[in-house]
Symmetry: C3
Subunit: 332 residues, 3 copies
């Protein structure tokens, strides 16, 4: 696998990801997808390395996905669970990270409810010249790069199963629907999709896609991002529709009137999907609220829904990310 050109030690945000980096991730993930379809399913790439999962925020799928990816690469895995940890004894997050560094951790996979924690730890690890690699598994409302990378891998694999690559997305219309304001998944996807040359249409209620945020987005991605407060123009002739999870606490925060009202205005239904191209596919980062973001029957329609493929791609893409940064590590 072509890793000779990989230079990035930490994967925290997609803001400055280059086209070459996206391509390397897609190619490497495709190779691992093949490994996973074989009998043995294991490669010795990270043997002797210690991957520590530091999930300060609860997660089923992302934690398990990273854990399985690391196992497939023959790494040793430590799981840090804040419940049974020193944090309750007043230790700082940086000291916790430095403890795991001193134990021999070479890669830290970090999820935290606050934006910036992975960056803060990465800066400290670099300051110490530790060589440790940081993988952001979702930080607050900031970024969730592995999710956006598995999304782009899933989409380009639909377009060419043999050779998923960035250019396949050029000129495609992708709608992202829902709580854009609070979504680290949307934020990461906006960068990867516009980098690939797709036309990205955001749709959501004004409370979750406010005018100020719209201006910011248009400045950052001129001519590639389109913002809508109604669903229909976003769906029209769309090639892909990404629905975002709606946090139920948005109701108590008075940002949406009710789940039912939200579904009536922004839920993906059999009727509305007809506005899209006939071969349209729907994605959702999960976990899904059935009947809120999308109707239950659309979610289960294998011709339409890419949700299972996203989860499967997740393991391959995370193997690729661990492998790429982990190999750069061992070259140091």
């Amino acid at each position: 696998m072509a890793t000779t050109t990989w230079k990035r030690r930490h994967i925290i945000s997609l803001v400055d990801f280059t086209a070459a980096e996206y391509e390397t991730v897609l190619q490497t993930a495709a190779s691992f997808r093949e490994v996973l379809s074989r009998g043995t399913k294991k490669v010795p790439a990270l043997q002797g390395q210690v991957v520590t999962n530091m999930f300060f925020e609860a997660s089923t799928r992302t934690r398990s996905s990273f854990e399985l990816a690391a196992k497939r690469l023959s790494a040793d895995i430590l799981n840090f669970a804040p419940g049974i940890s020193s944090l309750s004894k007043g230790e700082t997050i940086l000291d916790t990270a430095k403890t795991y560094l001193a134990m021999g951790t070479t890669i830290m996979v970090i999820r935290h409810e606050d934006a910036g924690v992975p960056t803060m730890i990465a800066q400290e690890m670099d300051r110490l010249e530790s060589g440790v690699c940081i993988l952001n598994a979702g930080d607050g409302q900031h970024q969730h790069p592995s999710q956006a990378l598995l999304d782009i891998y899933t989409i380009t694999s639909v377009l060419d199963p043999e050779k998923p690559r960035l250019e396949l997305l050029a000129g495609k219309k992708v709608a992202i629907v829902g709580d854009i304001l609070h979504s680290r998944v949307a934020r990461s996807n906006i960068y990867s999709l516009t980098a690939a040359g797709a036309e990205v249409h955001l749709a959501g209620p004004p409370t979750l896609l406010p005018r100020l945020f719209e201006k910011f987005l248009e400045n950052e991605h001129p001519g590639k991002l389109f913002v809508h407060w109604h669903l229909e123009p976003a769906l029209e002739n769309a090639d892909f529709v990404m629905t975002l999870r709606l946090q139920k606490e948005r109701m108590t925060e008075n940002l949406i009137p009710s789940l039912r009202e939200y579904h009536r205005l922004y839920g993906i239904t059999r009727d509305r999907i007809k506005l899209c191209r006939p071969e349209v596919k729907v994605l959702h980062p999960g976990p899904t609220n059935r009947g809120v973001e999308i109707t239950s029957d659309l979610m289960d329609d294998p011709k339409l829904s890419l949700i299972p493929q996203q989860v499967t791609s997740g393991v391959a893409v995370r193997m690729a990310l661990l492998y790429l940064i982990g190999s750069s590590h061992s070259q140091n």
Copy 2:
């Protein structure tokens, strides 16, 4: 090991288990018992397979036993803990299961406080033609097949350590004592023991062994099941006595007056055990309330108690179950 005849993909209940299936489990477990006594203790049988433990209900011994069994077979293991999971975010159980399927899970070991959850997941997995195998690790008051299979393995191993087999139980008298009504362990054991030709005597207070349930049992197992509201006739000349765990919440539900009263009437004591055959053995699925279901000294008497053997057999029997269904999987 003879697996060519194994056809069953899911082990959820013993209701329709055939004599041939019982024998295959006993033989396969005996082979693994031998593997466990060797130095290396590992076989590559499930290499590359992913066993996901989905324990929605707390458990020490069953979860650890399955985990160790899967490790001994070289499987990769994912642990799903509902506390730190998507369930709290409103995901359905089926969607959680489908997420683990999409990650590459080939065997799901499921415990849930509600009867029927493993069946529901198995049906969905079959509908999706996923090839995934389901192992019921205890569902509500329904079934706990691996426990009954390890019990029958433990008992037949006492009768012939060289070659545990079903026929050894023919004509033996087995007493099952306690909270029959709520016990999935009892329910599974009734099927396996009567299938083996044993005479099964149930004993418990009327609140925990009501007339209606008695009628149901007698219809299902004509001539092989005997129901008693007093302990003595059940113990008389018994070859084996299975005591059941008494849930302390049965008191607040007014089903028993007190633990002390329960022990006075249904506890296994040194005096009462004299009613049984001299070579009688006592079993308990654990965890035990010492001094309630059984006196502390009987529980610790190695001539009488099979409790440690049950736990040890548990690992071998669960290796056998994972191996049998897992191998059928890879043939698909």
Copy 3:
């Protein structure tokens, strides 16, 4: 590695540790330190053995450290977490231990908030002639032997990185500062340091280092232990300073007036450290309350602080302990 002379099955306390045992631990840890610096980082020493971590009390670093050590030795690991366990169902600790014994556990690593639990389990395991080895990972205010052994390994490695050995400590002055009364870390370190011939100076407030305790210590270690209620005489010309974690609950127990007051009197600061020898090093078992036991900048000063080295040594020393008792096990 020289294990032929190792006889001790359980490591619960350092009270009766011999000089030969200390030396064997230091040498074995040094060998493993070398293994850890290699590529593969794994040895097959405990293949087929089951190490069960029974942490009844929360812990980040100690649990992870033992887990990684056991993985490096190729053992299978079971984690017992009291939250999701049979203890909540009324099972006794001994029955839990016997369950893990019956599953095939060969080494139990035990942490408990009550002193004596590891001893109690070890006695039961011996009574059953199980051959199981017990490693105390901290019991109440009694002992924490692996911590003291990693401390002495860290210190002697500073004095001679090539060949850490006990005699290097002869005549050195070591100050232990803080809550001596409640500290199992202090209690274990007092035995190892005095055994090595060091002069040990304890310093702490009278409430945390009461007269009665002082008398006891002086009787046990005549001529080697010195007790101070002021920090300065302990620090004067010290070669090493061990700071102890201050539990915040000591305030509500009225044993200290406030963290600030404590820091003013007993905190290690840049000014105070000048009382020590120029090449002085500071240790802390972690997790640290920055600005309480020690100022933040001293803690981060690599010329002064041995805290990261302690964590790194921890993995090597715990590998050594598991290896030494585990090998004695397989000789049985």
